[in-house]
Amino acid sequence: MRIIVDLNRCLGYAQCVFLAPDVFTLHGEEALMYDPNPDDAKRLRVLRAAAACPVQAIVVDRLDDTEGGATS
């Protein structure tokens, strides 16, 4: 699966870090680091983390199959 965190919006509340520590981690006190393409097995926990984010900064892909990519 694919995710992105809008780090302009992220304020380091770290709710996601508690819910999916292998996907989200704090770098220092406040800077969030995350795995943009976590394994699909982690999907439920990532969705919970996205739902729990107080500033709703986590975007999760809404497509099962991503089109595109064929080289011209």
């Binding site: 770098h27 006190e29 406040e30 680091m33 892909d61 809404r62 991503t66 089109e67 011209s72």
Partner: protein, 477 residues
């Protein structure tokens, strides 16, 4: 014409215009040049706006759109592979992808984009989102040495990460902007000795000024970075196998190194627009705040739009100066405005007036900013403690707040953003607790703007009003 006929005429005209817009939305052709964040988000926004015509996305890299900020952080650290950065899709875009082939020209008369493989792609409306690339080390022979790299793309990141993982003796980072500083931070985390050279007085001095830059310098030195400011690299030298071995600095010293990372800022990808008659050059592509490109004479075009790092647009908050913002959210927000305006007529068009914002994480500190710091001439620490690297600082110009930066103090940034948006007085009243004792603004110490090199001269030609126009001439040296 009596009143009834006039009303009927107007109604008919309005219907004709509505029909034209509907026809364009259902069967028009839109081409997006640039398949990164701005290009992808624009494509999604076009479909969201109801555009169901033919959509083509052209990109010179062979990969589907990916996110760049993780490259200098998670990827270099070795936690996330470089090819695990593909952007999530927020809606289906049903586009024709032309990836791995660069656009090489624009024919505005025949409305075609020319590709490197000789193909021509016709369009009714065009979005330019070609972004920037890393400025290479200027000496081509030295740049070709094994172990001299830059960082901008996914492939760059994979190369740099592999080199770092192999355990170099000492890394030399040339240039202490955000990318250089983030790379230095990763080297420290990986336990690799690192030297950073910076021509200016401090790291981040161009973006944040000398006062905050001095704090960034302390952070680097505290983490063991061998930081050399006020010096430049005069030459890179390799061994017989062509592997880089040392750098000679402008102060006469040398640095023994086997991995050089040149982080000299970016260059805007506008060469493909040469001869197209747009206001495009080293400064980017000029456009209005509605993302419509200017032609070379400064006249706005109707069918060509610009978004992302390459767009230079006027900003009301900054005295209507034309700004380029190489920021993540500028690409996202600009793409949405451009897409909306591409399928809308005049009264419905929107302005792209973002409050600029960016973030950087380095040496365990989250640096965030809103506004344009370099627009300010004074700076004051308003909250927190510089010593503990947990503080907020505001930038002012002529008694108004124009920007703010926080170090591990991001929760307060919104307060400053609201002040900047309403041009509130500077220095701003400090909110909350933790107010430092010394709240006296000091000069922000930004370097003098340098005279840019290699700018083409713009000359006016033609005497007859129908022939009057501007023309680029090669730089005179």
């Amino acid at each position: 014409m009596n009143r009834a006929t006039a009303t009927g005429f107007l109604r008919e005209r309005a219907q004709q215009i509505a029909d034209l817009v509907a026809a364009f939305k259902s069967s028009g052709r839109i081409v997006i040049v640039g398949a990164s964040l701005a290009g992808l988000r624009a494509a999604e926004a076009l479909r969201h706006e109801g555009f169901s015509g033919h959509l083509t996305i052209i990109g010179d890299e062979p990969y589907e759109p990916y996110d760049r900020p993780p490259l200098s952080k998670q990827v270099l650290k070795g936690w996330v592979p470089a090819d695990h950065t593909a952007l999530p899709r927020v809606r289906a875009i049903d586009a024709e992808w032309r990836l791995g082939v660069a656009a090489t020209g624009l024919d505005r008369v025949n409305r075609q984009v020319h590709l490197a493989n000789g193909d021509q792609v016709p369009f009714d409306r065009l979005l330019i989102a070609t972004g920037t690339r890393a400025r290479p080390w200027p000496n081509p022979t030295e740049a070709a040495l094994d172990g001299v790299l830059t960082l901008r793309t996914r492939d760059d990141a994979a190369r740099v990460q592999a080199r770092l993982a192999a355990g170099p003796q000492r890394v030399l980072i040339i240039g202490a902007g955000f990318i250089g500083a983030e790379m230095a931070s990763i080297c420290c985390e990986l336990g690799i000795p690192v030297t950073v050279t910076e021509r200016g007085s401090a790291p981040l001095v161009g973006a944040l000024g000398g006062v905050i830059g001095a704090i960034a310098a302390e952070m680097q030195r505290d983490h063991g970075v061998d930081l050399r400011t006020g010096v430049s690299v005069a030459a890179l030298e390799g061994d017989q196998r062509g592997q880089v071995r040392r750098a000679r600095l402008s102060d006469g010293s040398t640095v023994e190194t086997d991995l050089v990372l040149a982080s000299l800022g970016s260059m805007r990808n506008t060469e493909w627009l040469e001869g197209a008659g747009l206001a495009a050059g080293f400064w980017g592509v000029g456009c209005d705040a509605g993302c419509r490109a200017f032609d070379i004479n400064g006249v706005v075009t109707d069918s060509i739009f610009v978004a992302g790092d390459v767009a230079r647009f006027p900003h009301v908050l900054y005295e209507y100066q034309f700004l380029t913002l190489e920021h993540w959210d500028n690409a996202v927000l600009g793409a949405a405005v451009a897409a909306h305006n591409m399928v809308s007529l005049e009264p419905d068009r929107r302005p792209h007036l973002p409050l600029p914002a960016f973030w950087s994480s380095q040496f365990g500190v989250n640096i965030k900013s809103v506004g344009v710091c370099s627009f300010g001439d004074e700076v004051v620490v308003t909250q927190g403690s510089v010593k503990e690297r947990r503080f907020a600082a505001a930038y002012g110009r002529r008694g108004r707040i124009v920007a703010a930066v926080t170090f591990n103090h991001a929760k307060w940034l919104e307060y400053y953003a609201a002040q900047i948006e309403r041009s509130a007085p500077f220095p701003p009243p400090a909110p909350g607790y933790e107010q430092p004792e010394d709240r006296q603004p000091v000069p922000a110490a930004f370097p003098d703007p340098r005279v840019p090199t290699s700018i083409p001269d713009v000359v006016l030609t033609g005497h007859d009003p129908t022939e009057r126009g501007a023309e680029f001439r090669a730089p005179s040296r």
